[in-house]
């Protein structure tokens, strides 16, 4: 069972209070993009065993979206942070690096 800290209202919310929103930090490919990019934007998702970034909505609480960085295998939550970001803030990357030496964010690799 996950318990995520909602950065919008400050509540430690149980998983049953939350609605999952899939992978975070997708880059949109809309009109004018190639078919392949559009296909990947629509369908291709990461499915890592380990560090993952997700969108969640505090559906039964404040109703706001937020992002969470967590480990899909151990369920360890590294951080939750604002949904109004296009990539993880440095503090979140540092928190992950402290726990998973050698791990790098996909844009850095």
């Amino acid at each position: 069972m996950l318990i995520l800290h909602c950065p919008n209202c400050g509540v430690d919310a149980d998983e049953t209070e939350l609605a999952p929103g899939g992978q975070a930090h997708l880059k949109r490919f809309g009109p004018g993009s190639s078919d392949e990019d559009f296909h990947d934007y629509l369908f291709a998702r990461e499915n890592p065993r380990g560090v993952h970034f997700e969108r969640w909505r505090h559906a039964h609480g404040c109703g706001k979206w937020f992002h969470a960085a967590r480990d899909t295998a151990t369920l360890e939550v590294f951080a939750t942070y604002s949904a109004q970001t296009t990539e993880p803030p440095q503090a979140v990357l540092d928190a992950i690096a402290a726990r998973r030496p050698g791990w790098t964010w996909r844009h850095e690799s």
Binding site: C9, G10, A13, D14, E17, H60, G61, C62, K64
Partner: protein, 198 residues
């Protein structure tokens, strides 16, 4: 004119705790930037209560002001005054980007009181309701089994609960089941020999 009635007409139940439907309650939803002066003024004048901090509710007599989300407040007021209160709020808000709606007839309100009130609610909500974590003045939107609900403590042995009117009967049945005599768990009772903080 038809006579307004509440969802369960004040039904009540006595078990581990006293469960009652509170009857007609004026409720107004106010959405907008809570930092805006006009929004703050509209909310405090309408409820007679001061602006609450996040996840808290301030009660003042028949009125109350509850923090629902970073851009939403719930104003409690006497039922017959809800419509005129909304009108007054709209005048106060003027051209400020905000929304005030009378939701009194869309909601139901319950009260659970008695020594086991914490336990009754704790059976239904995924919230830490231990006295150290949740006390009077705090306000929490959460779920009760399958439905959305908002709970707050009026005093140390009494909870107020707001849910949608359409699920009022379900909510009442839930609370009755949780307060069924003989179903006490005693999780918040003082345990002899318990290590403090455990």
């Amino acid at each position: 004119m038809s006579e307004p009635v509440s969802a369960l007409k004040g039904a009540s139940f006595d078990g581990l705790a006293h469960v009652e439907e509170c009857g007609l309650q004026g409720m107004i939803t106010l959405r907008g930037a809570l930092s805006a002066r006009a929004v703050q003024k509209a909310a405090t004048v309408a409820s007679g209560a001061s602006l609450p901090d996040a996840n808290r509710a301030n009660m003042a007599g028949e009125g109350g002001l509850c923090w629902m989300s970073p851009d939403e407040l719930l104003i409690l007021c006497p039922y017959p005054r809800a419509a005129e209160t909304v009108e007054t709020m709209r005048k106060t808000l003027g051209k400020t980007h905000a929304l005030a709606v009378n939701v009194s007839d869309a909601r139901a309100m319950f009260r659970v009181s008695g020594g086991a009130a914490r336990e009754v609610l704790a059976k239904l909500c995924p919230v830490d309701l231990s006295p150290a974590a949740f006390g009077p003045g705090q306000f929490r939107r959460t779920r009760m089994a399958q439905i959305a609900a908002a709970i707050w403590m009026e005093d140390d042995e009494s909870f107020g609960i707001v849910c949608f009117r359409s699920v009022a009967e379900y909510a009442f049945n839930l609370l009755k089941a949780a307060a069924q005599p003989g179903s006490a768990v005693g999780v918040f009772a003082a345990r002899p020999g318990a290590i403090s903080g455990d």
